[in-house]
């Protein structure tokens, strides 16, 4: 289980972008897209990036299982020890345990995260995966793509594109990780 975040509500003035039913529709749609893109579900695993990515991966996996009528694994990959910004971060993120399929080789791994921004987290996640094994393919699914990439990375499955200005912030809140209703907010600087 992902760790509980502090239940901090988005700041006053933040605008609601997605509510719970909308998020659920999006995740179900992504589940369909993943099935379409991966005919061989035997070799497919979802791997979330802590902490909300783990929860989102779990939900997408549940949708896939329901749609395809067969169980799909959802794991987790810790990225914090693969980050390259230890020396400049204000706070060290908590290192989480990784839960991955026994053997990554020959498998398709769908990395799952809540928000795609600079692309650095995805890069760290791919490095982390590579240290466990050599997946046949890595795909990338995100709930929100807010733009402003710093690396040549794009998502294969995007829940919603939200064009943002650099000072703006995107808040994802999930029942399981935040003890708040599922929602996505955006706030002005």
């Amino acid at each position: 289980m992902p760790k509980q975040q502090n239940p901090t509500p988005p700041p006053p003035g933040a605008v609601l972008v997605l509510d719970a039913p909308a998020i659920d529709r999006i995740l179900r749609r992504i589940a369909h897209e993943i099935i379409e893109g991966n005919p061989d579900l035997d070799r497919l695993s979802l791997v979330g990036i802590p902490s909300r990515g783990v929860e989102i991966a779990r939900r997408i996996a549940a949708h896939i299982s329901q749609i395809a009528g067969r169980p799909i694994e959802a794991g987790a990959i810790d990225v914090s020890m693969h980050r390259d910004d230890l020396h400049i971060r204000q706070r060290l993120s908590v290192i989480e345990l990784s839960h991955l399929p026994e053997n990554l080789d020959e498998r398709t791994i769908v990395l799952v995260d809540d928000v795609l921004y600079s692309g650095r987290t995805c890069r760290a996640a791919m490095d982390a995966l590579a240290s466990f094994g050599r997946p046949a393919r890595i795909q990338y699914a995100v709930l929100i793509d807010r733009g402003h990439r710093e690396l040549p990375i794009r998502a294969d499955y995007v829940g919603k594109n939200i064009p943002t200005a650099p000072g703006e912030r995107v808040f994802v809140r999930l029942e399981a990780t935040d003890r708040q209703p599922d929602s996505v907010w955006i706030s002005k600087p």
Partner: protein, 309 residues
């Protein structure tokens, strides 16, 4: 998010229970790195770690070195004898020189209590205490505690016996702090000359009869016993020590079935522990070595991260 703001790890006496648990949780994640195909992560890439050992120690130094390598740090080993240090530059000057060479982390083993604190107060680099005299050996106690938690699922409420030369043992002192902070009971066992009653003031029980505790304890942590020239006035012989305090087969048989047998190493087979018992399934001595690596990775990662701010 749990706060870790210490650039140094000097003494477990200074840490809160939450900080100790945070290190152990982080160590659990780093332990996984050892099971991967590629046993290396880039966390400390570009950082230089100096193993500065003013007292000989192969295993602790190697463990720190391997931990640093797995975190992608560059490692330099410096070994000096205390005598050459006192003749030449002072510890302060040596340390300032290391800092002038832009070392990021200094792992210090030193024969003087307080030496790690002394450096930590004077350097911007992270200072990790790898044993200061008879004072503390924090990473050893953290790996002991980690092993207990891993094997028995908890630390709180357990009863741990630490057996041996407590008076001169930094391992014992750090273990006492870690175990008490995490809610365990601690009983010190050993000759009255090496386990004076003064230790009771730290919140532990003291006994000089090993047979009193064998059936009660969940963990026995056996310290290496030494009988060098300077210890001869503390007990008459290794033979008498073994007779009174050694974990013999007969004594091991009286332990609880799931009790752990620990030893910080290197072990004296047939002295503080029967050779067969050391190799038995209840002995977690080699797990301690493995866990030491994970704990040291966690400590290096956390302290280096705290320094970055």
């Amino acid at each position: 998010m749990i706060a870790w703001n210490r650039k140094d790890l000097v003494a477990l006496e200074d840490l809160t229970p939450a900080e100790i648990n945070h290190i152990l949780d982080t160590a659990a994640a780093f332990k996984q790195v050892g099971t991967r195909d590629i046993k290396k992560v880039p966390s400390l890439r570009g950082q230089t770690l100096v193993n500065f050992f003013v007292e000989a120690s192969t295993r602790t130094r190697t463990s720190f070195e391997l931990a640093a390598v797995r975190l992608s740090a560059d490692v330099v080993n410096i070994s000096v004898s205390t005598s050459s240090l006192t003749k030449g530059e002072t510890l302060k000057d040596t340390a300032l020189n290391l800092q002038a060479l832009h070392s990021d982390i200094i792992v210090l083993r030193h024969s003087s209590a307080g030496a790690a604190k002394f450096l930590a107060e004077r350097l911007e680099a992270s200072v990790i205490n790898a044993g200061d005299g008879s004072h503390e050996h924090p990473t050893q106690a953290l790996l002991d505690t980690f092993t207990i938690r891993e094997k028995l699922g908890r630390v709180a409420g357990l009863h741990v016996a630490i057996i041996g030369d407590i008076l001169f043992s930094r391992v014992a002192r750090s273990n006492i702090h870690a175990l008490l902070k995490l809610g365990a009971r601690v009983t010190l066992v050993g000759p009255s000359t090496l386990v004076p009653r003064e230790f009771e003031r730290m919140g532990v029980a003291v006994t000089h009869r090993i047979d009193d505790v064998l059936e009660e304890v969940d963990v026995v942590n056996l310290l290496r016993i030494q009988h060098e020239r300077q210890r001869q006035e503390y007990f008459p012989s290794l033979g008498e020590y073994t007779a009174l305090f050694g974990l013999t087969k007969e004594r091991a048989a009286r332990l609880k079935p799931n009790a752990l047998i620990m030893h910080p190493g290197p072990i004296n087979r047939g002295v503080e522990i029967d050779s067969d018992i050391a190799d038995s399934g209840r002995s977690v001595i080699l797990d301690q070595v493995t866990n030491g690596l994970a704990v040291r990775m966690a400590v290096l990662y956390l302290c280096a991260g705290a320094r970055g701010k």
